[in-house]
Symmetry: C2
Subunit: 108 residues, 2 copies
């Protein structure tokens, strides 16, 4: 009763506005099936849209995740958009590097 759902909701809405989606899965070093399970779980929990985001070498893995999730587990989910971009990262020594990124949006 003493929790602060308004603040929590406010934060969530802000996140939503920034990301354009409730459900974002960031692809890192775990195995493909970990992320596939995360995508499937999001949709089974009622999400209408899931975004898979990856940078650099993880981009190939993001495409694998999407292909396995949709072809094997989610036949009714469509690919809404695939967008690539360049993001600038700050290195530890203060120099900047550019890295490619991909956002794959899946939707019901």
């Amino acid at each position: 009763m003493n929790e602060t759902p308004q603040v929590e909701n406010g934060f969530k809405n802000e996140e939503r506005g920034k990301e354009g989606s409730d459900n974002v899965i960031y692809v890192g070093k775990k195995s493909i099936m970990n992320y596939v399970l995360a995508v499937v779980t999001q949709f089974n929990s009622g999400a209408n849209e899931v975004v898979i985001k990856a940078r650099g070498k993880a981009i190939s893995k993001a495409v694998d995740i999407k292909e396995v999730a949709v072809n094997r587990y989610l036949p009714n989910i469509k690919t809404k958009s695939i967008v690539t971009s360049s993001e600038e990262l700050m290195n530890e020594d203060g120099t900047k590097s550019k890295v490619s990124a991909i956002h794959i949006t899946l939707a019901k």
Copy 2:
């Protein structure tokens, strides 16, 4: 005079129909800049559309190529579509493997 240009053209047109584009760049093991140069050269030679195709781990490289080519050398070229798919490959021992693929279509 004894060459068979009809047959050759027929083949080329068939390829074109199948691929949906005159200019396809397959991403392999060469460095990113090799492929960037190929994309830039195709557009400078009058191509209206160039498709970058990659499979498996080369998918990340394909996205890098697109980002570098468009952001650094081809400011007027747009990303027409990005499509991913699963392709089935026959292994040497007769078994089949699935591999993810990406087709990035750039256009004037």
